[in-house]
Symmetry: none
DNA sequence: GATGAATGAGGCTTCATTCAT
DNA sequence: TATGAATGAAGCCTCATTCAT
């Protein structure tokens, strides 16, 4: 059974390397990120990287995979009991927020994965997460509707899409200045800086208006 | 007053060059696009490009600007009379669709501009368009509300954001396989291929559920 | 009709580049020869080389081809009339000698091409020349035998092989210290340095002993 | 007295390492042979190799030395009594043949040693063998001449050179496709594949024609 | 103004060698 | 002593940009 050299590294070091890589990938994008820069950031030698990963693309894929792992870990922290949707939704957005801060680099990498210029690079990988997010919001919508917390003449999937769009673009607004401005223009009367909490407040406002 | 050499070119040639550039930028992304390839596609010499534009970035900016021009031209074709929102909205989506086909390359370039890996590259530029789109949807929402076509207990901006999100992600779904899959998963029960018309139908469904 | 960039260069420059490349290839061998070193020797930039040739291997092949061209040019200077074999043979060896000096690098490259470590690299190429050399010596042997200058109970091809072996190993002795020592050990009582003329004298001695 | 670590290894392991090394050296040539590949083939660790040998060159030299040892062992199997030259010569060629098969890798390494691209790498080493081969053929020629088996107006050394050339190029023809083709072109009317036995037959033909 | 050959810095990757365990 | 991970210099090649014609 051949475990890759990378997997035999102490977990702490693995994470250090992936974090550093994610940082560079996030800041510069895949193509502008330099192997040398990544290695320096990771505190490993140029050659070591190629012992751990097949090549730059291989590294990127592992970074992307860690993004998914992190997201899935995050999922488990979500409240999934029978709480009201009006408790669950803000909790999700607020759970996402520190995550976005802590793992911003990974999320930026993830965001880039959907960009056309990445080509089919990591299509399967990124699809994985969308699937999960689809399930989550469908479940929430279904539960809420069953409990009469939201209007019952709505299509479950449409509600899920509605919520997921909000989550997606809220996320983007935390990661990209472009989307931050867009968010603020629409939902904050063009305000310059909004705290995450304020943004979430605005999103919840929207939810209430449309869903009740 | 120094007019750039490029502007002195016959308009047809200008467009040919920009179209070719957009094509390469769209297919490969900014960083992977090669000057040589662009020149060949544009049918001009390597040196000429640097007579017309300061450098690769300069070219990109002009391409991006043309994207905005095209979008603004498009705007004028939108029905802005007093038609019902239920006529205007599909018209917008359907007006966008051939545009997405005709100028897909430009739109892909535009989409890429929001990606974090492009950095602050064309921030101002891309903001321009969001502003216009904000105005458009606010106007539509306002009119519709005034006419009682949609619920009147909704915030104008929230409705605009709701609609713009849908337009944005519909657009993405036409440009990026990633977002196409996401769209289909949520709104088409995972169907593989949806025609634009079918997609729009689904979006309008959503609109009706949430806005009436 | 697409002529390669290289072929469009002034012939003088082409030759300068090939000569320099041959020099480095000869001194270091294909694998140890560095592109940078070659370019410096050729007085061109690193990038230019890749405009002229597809890659290192491509360059090598062109160098090898020039070797063959040179050899074929050389062929034409050989006396092919009805002179006595005892005039023709020394003339060939002596024609080869300045050639070996002038184009030693190319000949070393050629010699390397037969070495197993070059793999199938330039097999076809090198075979070309052997064919020519086969024809030459067969012709000579035939003529000489017809004229009664050499024994007539010998197989033409065996005589040709005999002469070609001598030429080959004489050539090697001019190109490789290893073969120089071997030559001297056998034919010069271990003398240290023999002039080419002296070597040829010894070879002719041999010829006379075995062929008459 | 410091015996090298390598020599303290069980002989079987020593041989295994050298055989593996010879295999890689033969297949790829010295410069293309990778230490890692060699170690894997030899079943030892990367670090061990550097305990056994000073460096890559050191390993190569030991491999080369083994080549010589093998050749010298081989020598002892040669019939050196008073047999007729027409018995001894084919015996030598036929003794060499299985050796070429069994130790082909070593012989290829040896052949490469004479190539100019190896530089002065192993000059002394390879000379050693030529010296032995010189002695062998001189002895044979002398004996044969004394017994009147070959013409007596020939120079001993020239006969030795003649025979050694044949042996050398026969050997090459078994090791390198290039020389195989050359051999066949001259001595087998361009036949594609000749068994070793057939080749030897042809060589002996030659010997008889020139020496009797 | 237009051309396209030339430049050379910089990118990714390999690999002989060292060293901590 | 043996291991194999780590090192980092050096290699090949690309490509945005410049410049001579």
């Amino acid at each position: 059974m051949k475990t890759s050299t990378f997997e035999k590294l102490p977990e702490q070091k693995q994470i250090r390397i992936l974090d550093a890589s994610a940082g560079v990938f996030a800041q510069k994008g895949y193509f502008q990120a330099g192997i040398a820069e990544i290695c320096q950031a990771a505190g490993i030698s140029n050659g070591a990287l190629y012992k751990y990963f097949q090549n730059k693309k291989g590294l990127y894929l592992v970074v992307a995979q860690r993004t998914l792992s992190l997201l899935r870990e995050q999922e488990n922290t979500f409240p999934m009991g029978n709480e009201s949707i009006w408790i669950v939704l803000p909790e999700i957005f607020e759970a996402v927020s520190p995550f976005l801060k802590e793992y911003k680099d990974y999320m930026v990498v993830y965001m880039d994965m959907g960009s056309p210029s990445m080509g089919e690079f990591a299509l399967e990988l990124s699809s994985t997460f969308e699937k999960w997010s689809f399930d989550l919001f469908c479940r929430i919508a279904e539960t809420a509707m069953a409990k009469g917390e939201i209007k019952n003449d709505l299509s479950i999937e449409d509600v899920a899409y509605f919520m997921d769009n909000h989550l997606l673009l809220y996320t983007f607004s935390c990661l990209s200045e472009h989307y931050n401005r867009r968010f603020n223009q629409f939902l904050a009367k063009g305000a310059d800086r909004l705290s995450n909490r304020e943004k979430i407040e605005r999103v919840m406002d929207s939810f209430r208006q449309f869903l009740i």
